[in-house]
Amino acid sequence: MQTVLSIAIDALAYGMVLFVISIGLSVTMGLMRVVNLAHGAFAMIGGYIASYAARDLGLAYGFAVLLAIFGTIVIAVPIERLLYRRIYGAPELTQVLMTIGITFCIIGIANYVFGPTLKTVPLPSELQGSVDLGFRAIATHRIFAIVCGLAVAAGLWYAIEKTAFGVKLRASVDNAAMAAALGVRTEIVYAVSFAVAVGLAAFGGVVGAELLPVEPYYALRYMVTFLVVVSVGGAGSIPGALVACLLLGAIDTTGRYLMPEFGEFFFYLAVIAIICVFPRGLAGRAKG
């Protein structure tokens, strides 16, 4: 029973971190139809900035998180303007090559600037230790990650379903050309959602630094995981991404707890099985 509970908590926390990082990827992929392999690299940049701010500059955790989000957006927006803009609507192979090239560059530069060692983001004292629920003690950080994930999911749901921007975003996802013809400034929608996506990636990178340690190969190591979440969930679908994160988080964590000697074998096996059964993702719609 104890094991089941700790697996459940860890799986939930891991799934939520995955969700925070990949939801931006899912939305931009659904919106711009760009296979963005560099998304994990942005999460990594967020982690590095937070680590630098909190550890080397001694800023408070909250400031470090904010700095990481804005710093990553400031770095990412010129990349979008200069490079991504040219591959909208290009064949997949082109997009894969461009974004994997960007990933390689970021890894190389991160390694040059910060060195190959693992970076930690020191937690404030409130997030250390554990909370006693009466029958079970849970690490506060896990709860924090879960709460962050839920907050992001709720905030995004509100923004997309209830605000004017959300209406424009949904219209652009469904049919960008038609939305543009009706007076939606799609390039602004693109730019804003790209910035939000990158900001969320950075946020997830910082919050998840305990679970997904920040190091130069972060971008490559977890790239697969983020892509898997999006393709299992179906690009552009928030509920799909949420379900996919929880499912994959559960599979991965259970595998690690019960059969550590098999590593990620069952994780990838499950991914292949799910995609073979649902080639368009759990919540994917038929593409026109």
């Binding site: 064949p91 082109t94 090559l97 090239g101 995609i275």
Partner: protein
Amino acid sequence: MTMTTTNDMIAASPARRRFGGGDLIGLAIILLVAVIGYFLFPNNLALLTRIIAAALLVLSLDLVTGYCGVATLGHAALFGAGAYAAGIASAHYGINDPLAMLAFGIVAGAVAGLVCGVVILRAHGLPQLVLSIALIHLFHEFANKASSWTGGSDGLSGIAPTALLGLYEFDLWGRTAYVFGVVLLAIVFLLLRLIVRSPFGMLCRGIKEDPVRIRSMGASPKIALTKMYVISGAVAGVGGALNAISTQVVGLDSLSFNMSAESLVMLVLGGTGSLFGALTGTVVFMFFEDVVSAANPFHWLTMVGALLIAVVLFAPKGLYGTAAALVARRREAK
């Protein structure tokens, strides 16, 4: 499409008979480069043999990516299967004849190609890409776990190929391995030239352009692509077996995501959809890698990234494709 293939130009050129001038010229160029390499780097034949093995992998990737339009980041699975099969045949079963090891590599590569093809071709677009990545990780984890067979992360050692045809020992300098590799590459190159211009090859190219139309013409895209995947697996298996025979060790890196990504980079650098492009890309990339990564492996990664971005932005047809387009344009101008 920005990633146009160089096929269009080759198909439009006059040399397209069964064994056209292009084949003989290509063969002559391969042999010439091989001889030049032999005399320029007599002490580094191991590197040249590695380039040939990589070239076989890139050719095999070109078959599915360049000719069939399947974007995959897991192609090293086929290469690794060939390498491990050849290695295991030698290290565990005492089958040390290089040609028999090669046969094992080809069969294993083809089987891996069949498995990968069946799985990868189930989806399109992003899910397809993710499937290919998941497959290469699955292969990697499996080889890592089955360490009694594969040696796990220590690598598979104890491969001891006997003399080739009973005449030529695999010497310390790697001369036999190099000549063996060059001959294999030449044979594979000629066979592939035949295949890609056969009706079957044309069918695959048609599927890449418009699968719906091919289906309405009565052909099954899936069966054709699966066949191509098996052929591609056999070619990658030749490369893997060559690698196992020449280095006499098989490591987990031959089943890695990095290797898959690098082979894709090599292919794109040279130009997709052309066998010459695949060869050009491999040679240029491997030479640069040898020079730069000796200095600093991380700068190497940054440079590969920058190179990729540059190729996508400025030379989407790759080195060979761009050069071929220039030549074709000049010829037209005359």
